[in-house]
Amino acid sequence: MKINESSLRTLKIAAWLSWQIESNWTDPFLFAVYSIIKPVSAAFIIVIMYSIITQGDFSSPTFAYLFLGNALYQYVPALLSGVSWSIIDDREHYRTLKFFFIAPISMTLFLFGRSLAKFLAATISVIITIFFGVIFFHLPIFPSQIQWGLLTFASILGILNMLFFGLFLAGVSMITVRHSYFIGEVVAAGLLVFTGALFPLDFLPVYLRVIGLSLPITYWLELMRRILIGHPLPGPNLMSSFSNNELITILVVTNAVFLVVGYLGFQKCSSIAQQKGFVDQTSEY
């Protein structure tokens, strides 16, 4: 994958296209409301579940742990489906995928660009959800104590990882039919178990913790939570045993593996799809 002027143009135009598709069906105000309601509702489900059981003990570190995990996790379905759904959308809805394949563009960058609108919407809703948490539930987040440089670095690593994970799923979408549900969102919902977003990994059976420990999203969530609230979840738990530096190192290494697997996986799947004539095949059920 070479980055030059032409590939940047691909990225820019795909991003513009994604923004138009996602937002120009309505006026900006309604679009803003639409972008916010869904994630805020998801956050409230967790808040209500928690408050029923704990009688509203929002000062507990466990609440900050799961609230932030849930808020940050919004990036996962947004980026996984943002990249992978483009394949189905362009193949079966707009029926333009075949043209993109024969055009002299990088499909990888095109798909990354297509995910931009969802990435922006997710960023806004993550910020709003955390803001809600600070205002209404007094989450201990203090801007003056946040290491902004580390936050930026960790965010870039996490986003890159999710983009390439999405790319892998885009490859899978190339060789499967349209399911009634979005593959990216379904995979993201599944990964909720292994990444420690809603509960510490210690609640998983030992043999399943291995899956969580091999996913960069797990380390990214832990690192982001620590950067925002300044400390890991108190008490003995698996992720607390890692120092910040260890988390960063593991995140970089696992990210590198995911980047390679995502890129090669997509290349392999799109090659199979082209050979078998799946690029313009539609599933009408």
Binding site: I21, S41, Y181
Partner: protein
């Protein structure tokens, strides 16, 4: 000289039933041909149920709440099916060019919607059953069913009302363009929240629960939880018999409304040229 065999012609009820059969067929056969659905439609949604159940476990919730999540997760499948394979389906058919063919054919659009519902219900039922069995085994959920008859009645009334709602909204979506897609996309988490997918709806207060009762899942889930768990009645929103009566009313209202709306909106859509409209 050879003679072309004349195709079997149907009309009236025969055509109606053949249309239902014809439209449900691709959904059932598509599911059997595409084995990846086992992974995407059963295994992965089950993991999301597991995540919510483990969250309850992590914060020390009583055991029956894990069962609530399992049942809620299974019922989510039906909502997703109604949303994506019923409500927004006519929009999708319009975009892919099938809708004008449906309108041109002598088949009733109502039968086509029923066919989609039957096919979708069959495939979703398999998924929901798998989630309940596996989820219950994983979390050792104990069910104390107070009345099997009531449980089955609630389930079928809930499904009837839900798919009636799906047919009704499908006709509205017929008029819409890309908005349909986004509205369907929006109707997931907010609906999970107000209908109490993962917690008893009673906790949202009476008026929110009453408002959310327009969605058949709310009362269906609440009644099923009350019937299936020992402590269920303590956490219930309304009396089960009242919930059954409301579900029966919703079933009748939504089915009748869908019948009249599809007729009206089909005429409107034809008159305004929306059937072949394509705002891509």
């Amino acid at each position: 000289m050879f003679q072309l065999a004349s195709p079997k012609k149907s009309s009236g009820l025969g055509l109606f039933l053949r249309t239902i059969n014809g439209r449900s067929y691709p959904r059932v056969v598509g599911m059997l041909r595409e084995k990846t659905w086992l992974f995407f439609d059963i295994f992965l949604p089950l993991l999301s149920v597991v995540a919510f159940a483990l969250m309850y476990k992590a914060i020390g919730a009583p055991q029956e709440y894990l069962g609530f999540v399992v049942i809620g997760g299974a019922m989510t499948s039906f909502w997703m099916n109604v949303l994506w394979a019923m409500s927004s389906q006519l929009y999708w058919e319009k975009e892919t060019g099938n809708l004008p063919l449906y309108i041109l054919s002598p088949a009733s659009l109502m039968a086509i919607l029923l066919g989609m519902a039957v096919g979708g219900l069959f495939s979703t039922l398999l998924r929901a059953v798998a989630i309940i069995i596996l989820g219950s085994l994983i979390f050792n959920v104990t069910y104390v069913v107070s009345s099997l008859t009531q449980l089955l009645l609630v389930f079928f009334l809930c499904m009837g009302a839900l798919y009636g709602l799906g047919m009704m909204t499908a006709s509205i979506f017929l008029l819409l363009s890309r908005e349909a897609w986004h509205i369907a996309n929006l109707a997931s988490e907010p609906i999970y929240l107000v209908s109490g997918m993962y917690f008893p709806v009673k906790n949202l207060g009476f008026w929110t629960g009453a408002f959310a009762s327009a969605i058949p899942l709310t009362l269906g889930l609440d009644a099923m939880r009350q019937i299936s768990f020992a402590n269920g009645p303590l956490l219930g929103f309304l009396n089960v018999k009242v919930e059954i009566a409301i579900l029966a009313a919703l079933f009748i209202i939504y089915t009748l409304c869908s019948f009249f709306m599809i007729k009206h909106i089909e005429r409107l859509a034809i008159r305004e040229g929306r059937i072949t409209e394509n705002k891509r």
